[in-house]
């Protein structure tokens, strides 16, 4: 029997596969057994009711997609009264995801969702900080540090900081999140992109721009996962474009302790449980008892210049 369990800070997950926020909800229980996943991550909520962005909210790009859902939210009360109890029926850690426009509101919401039934709080600091220049908290180390400190003060639950790939300072932001008190980093959210309908000359998204997710994002967020795992001393949860077992392994080898699967679930709703099965088979075939020999095992120290090709076997 292989042991797929991983620990993310103080939390032990039965396997490293979990959904990415916003690509998962109660509704997925219509197609698969949620107890087979490592954790369950809710869609980001805000304290107040919000209606989200104008439609169209998604479009397709070559082999991937863009979205500008925004954060439609039924508010924190609905979340506490409906969402938390729903997931309480499962024996899988449930992770809330929260967002706010100011650090104080963020901290307040953080406190409100620190309730039994919530095992960790993912803080979506990739959203605009309306007190500063509207740039997301996680665009800069300074705003990351200050919001994380406030959040740390607001809860005793594990805090997962969800970073944005739009920053040019991912390493510094990761370190700031750690110093601010994050227990883990989720690397990363979607990357700001655009698509235009050539016929109508209108942007394909109602919101003009939106976030890239799916396979196109993978090489970028894999690189960031590698950089963050090197630079920070807290666990990293890889996220971006994961579709195949090979993708999961790349993230783990790069240093991720667990991974989140988003867009792939839209294409194959049973993608996550299939990955759990495939990972189990892989471990059995490779004769590996647990994931410790995989996580962070990237051979990045060796001289690469000698990698020539032998093609005569």
């Amino acid at each position: 029997m292989v042991d797929l369990s991983v620990s993310v800070g103080s939390l032990t997950l039965k396997n490293p596969i979990m959904p990415a926020s916003g690509t998962f909800s109660e509704d997925l229980s219509d197609v698969l057994d949620l107890n087979r996943l490592g954790a369950l991550v809710a869609k980001t909520i805000t304290r107040e009711l919000r209606s989200g962005n104008p439609t169209p909210r998604v479009c397709e790009v070559r082999g991937s997609m863009l979205n500008s859902i925004g954060i439609p939210s039924k508010g924190v009360d609905y979340f506490l009264q409906n969402t938390v109890p729903f997931f309480h029926e499962y024996d899988t850690p449930f992770v809330a995801s929260i967002s706010a426009g100011t650090a104080d509101e963020f901290a307040e919401l953080c406190e409100q969702v620190s309730v039994p039934g919530v095992s960790a709080i993912e803080v979506n600091i990739s959203c605009p900080n309306i007190e500063e220049d509207g740039k997301a908290f996680a665009m800069r180390p300074s705003t990351t540090l200050s919001v994380m400190e406030k959040l740390r003060g607001a809860t005793d639950l594990p805090l997962w900081a969800k970073l944005t790939p739009n920053t040019g300072e991912i390493i510094e932001v990761a370190q700031a999140a750690e110093h601010g008190g994050a227990d883990a980093l989720v690397v990363a959210n979607t990357l700001l992109s655009m698509a235009i309908d050539v016929r109508t000359r209108k942007p394909k998204l109602g919101n003009l721009m939106g976030g890239l997710s799916g396979p196109a994002l993978k090489p970028i967020t894999l690189r960031m996962t590698y950089q963050c795992a090197k630079a920070a001393n807290i666990p990293v949860i890889g996220c971006g474009g994961i579709t195949t077992l090979n993708d999961v392994l790349e993230y783990l080898i790069a240093g991720a302790s667990a991974v989140q699967v988003g867009t792939a679930t839209f294409i194959n709703p049973t993608a996550m449980t299939a990955l759990v099965d495939q990972l189990t088979t892989y471990m059995e075939e490779e004769g590996l008892a647990d994931l410790s020999s995989i996580i962070g095992s990237v051979r990045d120290g060796e001289a690469a210049d000698s990698q020539f090709l032998e093609a005569t076997s």
């Binding site: 916003g22 909800s25 998604v58 979205n67 997931f87 029926e89 839209f266």
Partner: protein
């Protein structure tokens, strides 16, 4: 235990999944007219407990010429649980439907469904009137199947550019539906003529419910007539979809609920909605 019974959207008491990802086999994929194809699949029976108006979310093949990524939503055109058959009538438009058009008998085809909330036929609705155009007829075809099963009278006003472009009228007739066809060609599809036609129907034998889908023009006309004569109705609507399962919230449209305007998900609360609550666009 599984979480099925807690699902807010769940109104069935069955355990286990209600939507299925299944690999079907293509039986045929022939042209229905110059722009439409009929895809007939050999499908596992357990995915065929469908309601009229529900849809499947289709994984289009990737080919050298076409690389669709997201699934494509398509209404069920017909389903037969006993035979294990499922069919879609689709218009060949962009990347995904062009890729679908390349399917040949024997190919595998991955479908997810049945999804969404379909049309309802209340026990006291005996005279049903369906008004649709183009691919909208695909969405409404299973309603004829259901009306026949329940022994209700269904009249279908089928609209198209030309007599030649009319789709599915034979299919409707075979299911016992009375078909009235109107076309742009001879001017009979104008709103005014449709209004006249429907008013005459209401006057002659009465209409208990309207069914339509997709077109803004038809929506407005039926809302007007529904209000005037106090006739309820249902409409199937479309929106861009990613997950098809209610998770991503991309497929919302606005609806009138009393004095409020609410955003509902076409894939989950729809695709069939109350006619009067739907908003024109």
């Amino acid at each position: 235990m599984t979480g099925q019974v807690h699902s807010p959207a769940s109104d069935s008491t069955e355990a286990g999944p209600k939507a299925f990802e299944a690999v079907c086999t293509v039986k045929s994929n022939d042209l229905a007219n110059d722009a439409y194809r009929l895809l007939v699949l050999d499908a596992p029976r357990h995915i065929l407990k469908c309601q009229p108006g529900q849809f499947f979310h289709l994984l289009c093949p990737v080919t050298d010429q076409h690389q669709p990524y997201l699934r494509r939503p398509m209404s069920i055109y017909s389903f037969d649980e006993e035979v294990g058959e499922l069919a879609f009538l689709y218009k060949v438009e962009g990347e995904g439907t062009k890729a679908m058009a390349t399917l040949t008998p024997g190919d595998s085809f991955n479908v997810l469904g049945p999804l969404g909330v379909g049309y309802s036929i209340k026990p006291d609705w005996n005279n049903l009137l369906l008004v649709a155009r183009g691919v909208g007829l695909a969405t409404l075809a299973p309603l004829a199947q259901e009306a026949a099963r329940l022994g209700r009278k269904l009249t279908a006003i089928c609209s198209a550019r030309s007599e030649a472009a009319l789709l599915s009228t034979e299919h409707f007739r075979r299911l016992g539906t009375e078909v009235i066809s109107v076309t742009d060609e001879d001017g009979s599809s104008s709103v005014d003529n449709l209004r006249r036609l429907i008013e005459a129907r209401i006057a002659e034998e009465g209409v208990d419910a309207f069914y339509t889908c997709g077109s803004n023009r038809l929506l407005k006309l039926l809302q007007e007539l529904g209000k005037k004569h106090n006739i309820p109705g249902e409409i199937a609507l479309e929106q861009q979809m990613a997950c098809g399962l209610g998770m991503c919230q991309c497929c919302v449209r606005p609806f009138r609920k009393g004095d409020d305007i609410v955003q509902l998900r076409v894939c989950k609360e729809g695709p069939v909605f109350d006619l009067q609550e739907a908003m024109g666009w």
